[in-house]
């Protein structure tokens, strides 16, 4: 059964779900990198066929002769086949009150029918992360400043609920305030990656996770969060040897501006520095030499319209050496999608909040993915979910 992933595919996002569930049932699958948009080859299975029919996923029957021919094409071109072994156990770091529609990754997982569990601060600090192969960070603010909406949205019920929940959780876990709790959680997440976990983060979780790691001994939180203002020398006191992706960032000192640092290139909420949206281009990797980044950029479109988030993009100058750029806006001082290794594990960061809601505002209705079933931006997210399913041998780069 070939699930083509080029323009012929009728539901790209659910094709990932069909593949994932087939692996979950113990089936065999291969990811044909760069072949027709990164197609999947599944062992013929009535359950998978039925699911594909129900989900509107296009399936092509492949004879033995056609398969031989296909492998010949792959061997002769910038393509590669990657065996997929086992469906990873997926965890999403999200507050217990979060609906699946709050976050692009949970929306994608939900729509594709990929099982996941949610974990939050008590589970992370309770040492549960090692039981998952893949961890996604919901758009959390790891600086503990409630996404810096505290002053601008002080009367909004959602903000009051968030503050109450975060503060109560911090106290229950023995921390003085959320900023201290989030630093401890960030360290656990770094440890998870170091020990071999796969981390995927989007939007502001990327930037704030790094800031929390760099600020282990520095107060970078506004007074409304921890009772004391940001340390005057906070920017110069940050320790970038403790982070995994970024370096040398300058913090945004104003508690009124919902921006954290100059890691984000677009600064959507900054009255002066906000940059307009463009489009980003996926990098064309050599599939046989770099299968990992190739997996992460499998898509039927090469150029994808950009989308805002509290952290939309990553300033080039703030990336550590050795970080792999997966997608960038050519000519712009920022990139969109980055990847790297840390210890025994890997991490991938994608800027922006929702690929199909480029100007997302708080309170906007959730995105209905049945109207965007071939979304190239959402495909990037799902590439990351299947990436840990690849045979371990293939993941070593």
């Amino acid at each position: 059964m070939l699930l083509p992933m080029d323009e012929q595919q009728t539901n790209h996002l659910k094709a990932y779900g069909v593949t994932f569930r087939s692996l979950k049932r113990g089936g065999r699958a291969e990811w044909m990198l760069n072949y027709r948009g990164g197609s999947f080859l599944l062992a013929d299975d009535p359950a998978a066929r039925r699911e594909a029919a129900l989900d509107g996923v296009r399936v092509e029957d492949l004879s033995a002769a056609a398969e031989v021919q296909l492998r010949g094409v792959i061997g002769a071109n910038n393509m590669e086949t990657i065996p997929l072994e086992k469906a990873p156990r997926v965890a999403v770091y999200a507050p217990p009150s979060a609906a699946p529609w709050d976050d692009a990754v949970t929306m994608a997982l939900q729509y594709a029918g990929i099982e996941y569990e949610t974990v939050w601060d008590p589970e992370v600090l309770g040492g549960q992360l090692p039981s998952y192969e893949w961890l996604h960070l919901h758009h959390e603010d790891f600086t503990g400043q409630f996404s810096k909406f505290y002053l601008s949205s002080s009367t909004a019920p959602w903000l009051r609920d968030m503050v109450r929940l975060q503060t109560q959780t911090a106290r229950a876990l023995g921390f003085a305030h959320p900023a201290a709790l989030k630093k401890a959680v960030a360290r656990r997440i770094r440890g998870y990656v170091e020990d071999g976990g796969f981390l995927f983060a989007m939007c502001t979780a990327t930037e704030t996770l790094e800031l929390a790691l760099a600020a282990e001994e520095v107060d970078i939180a506004a007074a409304y969060s921890d009772g004391t203002p940001m340390a005057p020398d906070a920017t110069t006191s940050l320790r970038w040897d403790r982070t995994i992706a970024f370096r040398d960032a300058v913090l945004e000192p104003s508690p009124q501006i919902a921006s954290f640092s100059d890691i984000d290139g677009h600064q959507v909420n900054h009255p002066v520095r906000r940059q307009p949206l463009g489009a980003f281009t996926l990098f064309d990797f050599a599939a046989k030499i770099d299968p990992v980044p190739t997996m992460l950029v499998q898509c039927h479109r090469n150029v994808i319209p950009d989308f805002y988030g509290l952290t939309t993009s990553f300033t080039r100058d703030r990336l550590k050496r050795g970080v792999t750029i997966l997608a960038e806006e050519p000519g712009a001082p920022w990139v969109k999608y980055v990847h790297g290794g840390y210890g025994q594990g890997t991490w991938t960061f994608l800027g922006g909040h929702d690929p199909e809601d480029p100007q997302h505002q708080i309170g906007d209705p959730p995105t209905d993915l049945s109207l965007h079933s071939s979304s190239p931006g959402y495909r990037l997210i799902l590439n990351n979910v299947l990436f840990p399913a690849a045979k371990k041998r293939e993941l070593k780069t």
Binding site: R50, A53, L54, D55, G56, P100, W101, Q110, Y111, G113, L151, S152, S154, T235, V250, L251, E252, P253, S254, Q256, D262, V272, R273, P333, P365, P366, D368, L369, S370
Partner: protein
């Protein structure tokens, strides 16, 4: 380049360095121009620190150059060193103490860097230096309000008002009061502000429109008692927004100014806003406003206003008003005017559709001679539909007798259908094609034609009777009638389709039990027929509405797997996603 210039340049080049003049020092103007140019280039290249240095070079020559100052501020903000702009801004303020752009920039940077204390200090210096300006009060209060400190913002405004009076700061005080929830006080300030500047009526209305219901009457009282007409106009605008358009109109009408152009503008504005509200009451108020507009203006504008007023009255069901306006039109406008015909057509259509077909017929006969032949056909068609709805098929036929237009064919088709003559109905509706008027009629005809194609009999009075019930709005009777009609048909000869149609009607009317029975029977009668996928989808929807999700999932999966090529499959997949919680409920 001209020949002389070419020769001169060649000679200059030949002479070479020996004749190069000593380099003249740059003038201050040239230094500033060069600094700006360099800074701009560096900024485009993303070299913000170097760009900032270039701006500083220019500022060393012209410390109060606002373009350079703004450039410096922009660059330093980019590199997170905005605080370094402060000495340059202070120097600029000292060099040109009356320049309020510099004070404004200084204030903005000081506030962003130093917070409330720095903002207060710079604002105080600005107030002391430019004593006659309200700008520092405006900027300071706006900054405080934006960071949520409305009390402090109001205190600053109070100081300004004590010094300059209410009028100059009213426009700025009102939104802060709104933010503080002091709606009645905000209304007072807006009344003062709009009296000075009528151009802000719209933002004032938008700002006050969100007031809580409990305070609205007090706010209206304040605006009306302010003793100026713009305050009353603002009250009128609010009444329109708050769902009391007729009161709004009465208020505006009472306070219209003497000069006609301004009065006409206000009335036109009210009429346009009423149109955007779109409720029946607002449409009626729009009619009154347009009628007044016709009185305030003359010529073509008045004629147009009268027509629009007639249309608004007709749409709102005020047929007396519509008739009054149309009577005036007949005296003043050419009878063949297309616009007049349009208004008359609307008028008669509304009469016919509202069940007053006798009156519509009377009006038609009264105006018939003055209406163009093409429009007469359309009106006749409306009247024919009116008679059909009234159940008087003979008079309907009489109205379109001899008419071979597609609209008339459609009416004839439906009359045949209501009489149970399915063969004639099919022929007439097919002949009318997709161009029958009105548009919704075309859709209805197409749907019924599909059903008729599947019913294998030429005559079925029960079906006609059921459709007559449906046309009369009695869905329950129509559903019973369709069941009766289905019982006269073989399973694959239309029975399943008529049952499915009945199920659709029952579901739409909220009778879920009847819908489930009818749709289930339709699928049992012919599970492979052309209407089966749609019936299965509808049945799944009935289950979903009843929160019987497991049954809905079974139904939907069966539909998708059994009829993969059906046009309803995408809809079924979407519903399946929703039932399974894969997409949000919308």
């Amino acid at each position: 380049m001209r020949l002389g210039s070419v020769v001169a340049m060649a000679l200059w080049l030949l002479a070479g360095p020996a004749v190069l003049p000593a380099q003249e020092p740059l003038s201050p103007h040239e230094i500033v121009a060069r600094a700006r140019s360099e800074a701009g280039l560096l900024e485009r290249q993303g070299r913000f620190v170097e760009a900032a240095a270039a701006y500083v070079r220019g500022l060393d020559v012209e410390p109060a150059n606002t373009t350079l100052l703004m450039g410096l501020e922009r660059m330093l903000a980019r590199v997170g060193r905005l605080g370094e702009a402060l000495p340059y801004l202070a120097r600029a303020a000292a060099a040109d103490p009356t320049n309020e752009i510099i004070h404004g920039l200084h204030f903005s940077v000081a506030a962003r860097i130093g917070g409330a204390d720095s903002a207060a200090a710079v604002a105080a210096r600005w107030m002391a230096t430019v004593r006659g300006s309200v700008m520092p009060y405006r900027e300071w209060s706006r900054w405080l309000a934006q960071r949520g400190d409305t009390d402090a913002a109001l205190a600053v405004l109070a100081r300004g008002r004590a010094r300059f009076g209410d009028v100059q700061l009213a426009e700025h005080t009102a939104p802060v009061l709104t933010q503080a929830g002091a709606w009645v006080e905000a209304a007072e300030q807006w009344a003062v502000a709009v009296a000075v500047n009528r151009g802000i009526l719209s933002p004032a209305g938008a700002s006050l429109g969100r007031a809580p219901t409990s305070l609205r009457d007090a706010m209206l009282e304040v605006l009306i008692d302010a003793g100026n007409s713009p305050g009353t106009w603002l009250a009128s605008d609010l009444l329109l927004q708050w769902g009391r358009p007729q009161e709004g109109w009465v208020l505006l009408d009472r306070s219209l100014p003497g000069p006609r152009p301004e009065g006409a503008r206000l009335v036109r504005r009210f009429a346009d806003r009423a149109a955007s509200v779109g409720t029946r009451d607002a449409t009626l108020a729009r009619g009154y406003a347009l009628e007044r507009l016709a009185q305030l203006t003359g010529g073509v504008v008045a004629e147009q206003a009268r027509l629009q007023a007639a249309q608004a009255f007709a749409d709102a069901g005020n047929l007396v008003g519509a008739e009054r306006l149309l009577s005036q039109l007949s005296l003043e406008t050419p009878a063949q005017s297309a616009a007049a015909a349009e208004a008359l057509t609307t008028f008669i259509r509304v009469l016919a559709e509202s069940g007053q077909v006798e009156e519509a017929d009377r009006q038609f006969r009264r105006w018939e001679d003055q209406i163009a032949p093409g429009d007469v056909e359309e009106i006749r068609e409306h009247l024919a539909w009116g008679w059909v709805q009234a159940g008087d098929f003979e008079r309907a036929e009489e109205m379109i007798n001899g008419d071979s237009t597609v609209g008339a064919l459609s009416v004839q088709g439906w009359i045949a259908l209501y009489r149970g003559d399915l063969a004639t109905a099919k022929a007439r509706l097919a002949a009318a094609g997709p161009y029958a008027r009105p548009r919704e009629e075309t859709t209805r005809s197409a749907s019924i034609l599909v059903l008729l194609e599947r019913v294998r009999t030429d005559r079925l009075e029960e079906l006609g009777a059921a459709l007559v019930s449906l046309a009369a709005g009695d869905t329950a009777a129509a559903v019973v009638g369709l069941r009766r009609a289905a019982d006269r048909l073989p399973d694959t000869g239309g029975r399943a389709d008529v049952l499915a149609f009945g199920g659709e009607l029952a579901a739409a009317s909220g009778d879920q039990d009847a819908a489930e029975r009818l749709l289930g029977d339709a699928l049992a009668a012919d599970s492979a027929g052309p209407s089966a996928p749609a019936a299965a989808l509808l049945l799944a929807t009935v289950y979903t509405d009843a929160e019987r999700n497991d049954e809905a999932v079974v139904q939907l999966e069966h539909l998708i797997l059994t009829y993969p090529e059906s046009a309803v499959v995408p809809q079924a997949r979407r519903l399946l996603d929703r039932v399974r919680g894969m997409i949000p409920k919308t």
